[in-house]
């Protein structure tokens, strides 16, 4: 038996129609990142007269990998609810790199231990961030910014201005190629695939997206909001630490300013990747598109021979345009 609905058919239908279109377009903003990245790639080697397409792509992939790692961490934090950002990513990268490189002394046999220490540093940093937010009721931006000063000065006291050399094995890993294919980005792609499954198919992932949409609703659905958000900040700290660890190997050592560009980039790739800053959405695969876009754009503008100021300006304009043009999802 079907009891007649009180919602008149006439008003219900157009709404349902437009919602259907919206749901079909969801994730389209993520795909846009890939599309623009592909265009940039073609433009780059067209400008270079058809030369160096492979080299351009492999450079972009290697640099994008770091952006993807921190972006994925930031994605978890942003997804956990409106207003949640981790601005301590650059300093956690630096601190984890300094501590682990310092402990390894450039010796290959200590690599596993050093990596474990880096992970621990990231987890503790993330927990401290969340502690300040939850216990002191600080806005996330303020809390993570405040901690980032602490982390940065710790790194400064540990290593000073010097660059600490990585073990040779680590450096080799970050640039290792198997049959001409770089291995490190493949590892990061595997991480992305795992994260895509985590947000869609695990209890943690669903709970994370639920608290991001409605904290009160999640509480009443029996979800342990505090614990889920703590995990998201800890995972973000771990992601920053991994990025710092690998970047030390890639660039030849831990340096104080090594994470500087990643504060902006980590947020930008999440948004360009198709998630809403209002929370409740996560699109790990879209982050790759966005990160490739950023790095290909940088390469293209470099080949034009533009100086840094103009490059940044054009990057900013492109980001604004893409976010404005892309279709909005229900969370916006």
């Amino acid at each position: 038996m079907i009891v007649p609905d009180t919602v008149p058919r006439g008003t219900g239908q157009p709404l349902k129609g437009s919602l259907k279109i919206l749901s079909r377009l969801r994730g389209a903003r993520g795909a846009l990142g890939f599309a623009v990245a592909a265009l940039l790639w073609i433009a780059t080697f067209a400008y270079a007269g058809g030369q160096g397409a492979g080299a351009t792509l492999s450079t972009a992939l290697a640099f994008a990998a770091f952006g993807v790692i921190v972006g994925t961490g930031q994605m978890l934090v942003i997804a956990s609810g409106s207003g949640n950002f981790d601005l301590s990513i650059p300093s956690v990268m630096t601190l984890a790199a300094y501590i682990s490189m310092g402990l390894m002394h450039g010796q290959d046999y200590r690599l596993a231990g050093g990596f474990a220490v880096a992970l621990a540093v990231g987890a503790v940093a993330g927990a401290l961030n969340f502690l300040a937010i939850a216990a002191l009721r600080l806005p996330p931006m303020i809390a993570t910014l405040a901690w980032s000063f602490v982390f940065q000065s710790l790194a400064m006291n540990l290593g000073g201005e010097a660059t600490i050399k990585p073990p040779a094995l680590l450096s080799e890993f970050t640039v290792f190629r198997l049959g001409g294919v770089q291995v490190m980005p493949l590892f990061v792609m595997a991480m992305t695939a795992v994260m895509a499954v985590v947000v869609k198919r695990t209890v943690f992932g669903r709970h994370l997206l639920a608290i991001g949409q409605s904290e009160r609703g999640a509480r009443l659905a029996g979800i342990h909001v505090t614990r889920v958000r703590l995990y998201s900040y800890m995972l973000c700290g771990i992601a920053a630490a991994v990025a710092g660890f690998l970047l030390s190997g890639f660039t030849g050592g831990a340096a104080l300013n090594m994470g500087d560009t990643y504060m902006m980039e980590s947020v930008a790739v999440v948004v360009l990747g198709g998630a809403s800053v209002a929370g409740g959405e996560a699109n790990p695969i879209g982050i790759w598109g966005a990160a490739l876009f950023f790095n290909l754009l940088a390469i293209l503008l470099n080949t034009f021979g533009l100086d840094a100021g103009v490059r940044l300006l054009l990057t900013g304009i492109m980001v604004v345009l893409i976010v404005a043009v892309a279709p909005r999802t229900a969370g916006d």
Binding site: M1, I2, V3, P4, D5, T6, V7, G12, L15, K16, L19, K20, L22, S23, V197, R201, T202, V203, R206, H207, L209, A210, Q213, S214, R216, G217, A218, L220, A221, G222, I223, H224, G280, E281, T329, A330, G331
Partner: protein
């Protein structure tokens, strides 16, 4: 209209969507008359006053003030010009301004050089007249005043006069934050003002005050005036009886087998906060109701019991309690998600095969509940917001009932839900209870409570009355809600 009436409202109607807030109300106030307006939540008192004050427009009906017909739209400014003032329950003072500045807001004529001095004199005199010895600093910002003082300022300001006449003051729960002495002063002043020809309309749940100060009592039920009478000789039980005078057809009391052991196996056994607060207990398979006027602590108690239940759950991932929120948009649905995702969020751990949620298990759970709840949609993958409110509520019910929870809390879940859905859900709740599930049900509509085995009536944050079986009657609930005498 009777000539000489100050306010004459005839056949006033107002509908919000399908809800008839005012279904043809006749309401008259004489010069210098004090009228008490009483009724349960949602009876239409506030809507009627909003129409009178111009903050809501009537759909139809004739409306005269002081013999002049009000045709078409009516604004609060026109109401002020016509001599009508309003003291709002949620005070209307600007918190960032001081007492004198708030007085100026009401009176446009207080301008030019020296307005502050004149406004100060005006409000100071009025405060002294109503609340002698009030001790309120006129330079204080409203935000810095205690709530009682704010209410005094709001009242005194409503009685100040400059260029517009003062004919009638609407007082909506005026004494809710006043102390004992201030209440006495205020009621005396209302009588004194009435002697000088200023009428008043008093809305209050404190029936003693109504009987004390009013010449006449008007009772509203379901958007209609059902009774009005001179208050002389009336008693509190009379008023309560008048409010319950429309008989809502009551479901035949269910024959309960009484096999519940009253103390063993209780799923809830919570002591009251103090000696005046009844302990609350709940046996498996029982449905208990929280009744009383809206906002008297029912929801807070439900939340406290729910969170205590969460904490006590042995397996944190399979809590023994579930909650169905009535405020769907902010506490119920997850807006970005599909119907299926919204339905399964409370049950995820039991849908897991290994570390991952099984798509097949989710689908079979969702399809089962969609069929059982008769959710009207062609696919559970559609966005939750594509459903009507009633169907969204069904999904929220399914979320709670699909879980392992032994106790389900219903937080006024039928708000804005159509009758057909209500009947279906009532049936489902009873079926679930028959299988041993327990329910705690906060309902603001009296007839919903007839689905309950037992009822706790709340007043001022406490469970003050416990009704069972055939004692669950409107008059008993109303009497306890309003603090009237209970003579069964």
């Amino acid at each position: 209209m009777v000539p000489g009436d100050l306010i004459a409202m005839d056949s006033i109607r107002k509908a919000f969507g399908a809800v008839h807030a005012l279904a043809g109300v006749d309401f008259h106030v004489d010069r210098g008359e004090v009228v008490g307006l009483i009724g349960h939540n949602g009876a239409g008192k506030s809507t009627l006053m909003n129409v009178l004050f111009g903050t809501t427009q009537r759909d139809s009906g004739r409306f005269h003030i002081a013999g002049r017909e009000i045709a078409g739209a009516f604004t609060p400014h026109q109401a002020h010009e016509a001599g009508i003032r309003c003291v709002f329950q949620e005070l209307s003072l600007c918190e960032n301004l001081d007492v004198v500045e708030n007085t100026r807001i009401l009176h446009r004529s207080l301008q030019g050089i020296g307005w502050r001095r004149r406004a100060r004199r005006l409000i100071a005199d009025q405060l002294d007249a109503i609340f002698p010895g009030h001790g309120i600093a006129l330079k204080a910002r409203i935000a810095d005043l205690p709530i009682g003082a704010r209410q005094m300022v709001e009242i005194a300001r409503a009685f100040t006069v400059t260029d517009a006449p003062l004919r009638c003051v609407i007082l909506d729960e005026p004494t809710s934050s006043l102390g004992h002495e201030a209440t006495r002063q205020f009621l005396a002043f209302v009588r004194q003002a009435a002697g000088q020809g200023v009428a008043a309309i008093v809305i209050s749940h404190r029936l003693d005050e109504i009987l004390n100060v009013c010449d006449r009592v008007v009772v509203m039920v379901d958007g209609r005036v059902v009774a009005q009478q001179r208050s002389e000789g009336l008693t509190r039980p009379d008023l309560v009886a008048m409010m319950g005078s429309i008989e809502v057809p009551r479901a035949v009391a269910k024959a309960r087998d009484g096999s519940h052991d009253q103390t063993r196996d209780r799923v809830i056994d919570a002591p009251g906060r103090d000696a005046h607060d009844l302990p609350i207990h709940l046996a498996p398979g029982e449905i208990i109701g929280f009744a009383g006027l809206d906002g008297h602590g029912q929801r807070e108690r439900m939340r406290a019991l729910f969170h205590a239940g969460l904490k006590a759950s042995r397996d944190r991932h399979r809590p023994a309690v579930a909650y169905v929120a009535g405020d769907r948009q902010t506490e119920g649905v997850f807006r970005i998600w599909s119907i299926a995702d919204n339905l399964t969020i409370g049950t995820l751990p039991s849908l897991c095969r290994g570390p991952l949620i099984s798509a097949a298990a989710s689908r079979s759970l969702v399809e089962g509940w969609m069929a059982r709840m008769k959710v009207k949609t062609d696919s559970a993958d559609r966005p939750i917001l594509s459903l009507s409110g009633g169907n969204q509520q069904k999904v929220l019910f399914a979320r709670a009932l699909a879980s392992d929870a032994r106790t389900v809390f219903l937080d006024d879940p039928m708000r804005g839900v159509d009758v057909g859905t209500k009947v279906e859900v009532y049936r489902l709740i009873r079926a679930e209870a028959a299988q041993g599930r327990s329910f705690v049900w906060y309902a603001t509509e009296l007839d919903e409570l007839t689905n309950c085995d037992r009822i706790y009536v709340f007043r001022e944050g406490r469970a003050v009355e416990h009704l069972e079986g055939t004692d669950i009657r409107q008059d008993r609930i109303l009497a306890a809600s309003f603090g009237g005498m209970v003579n069964a």
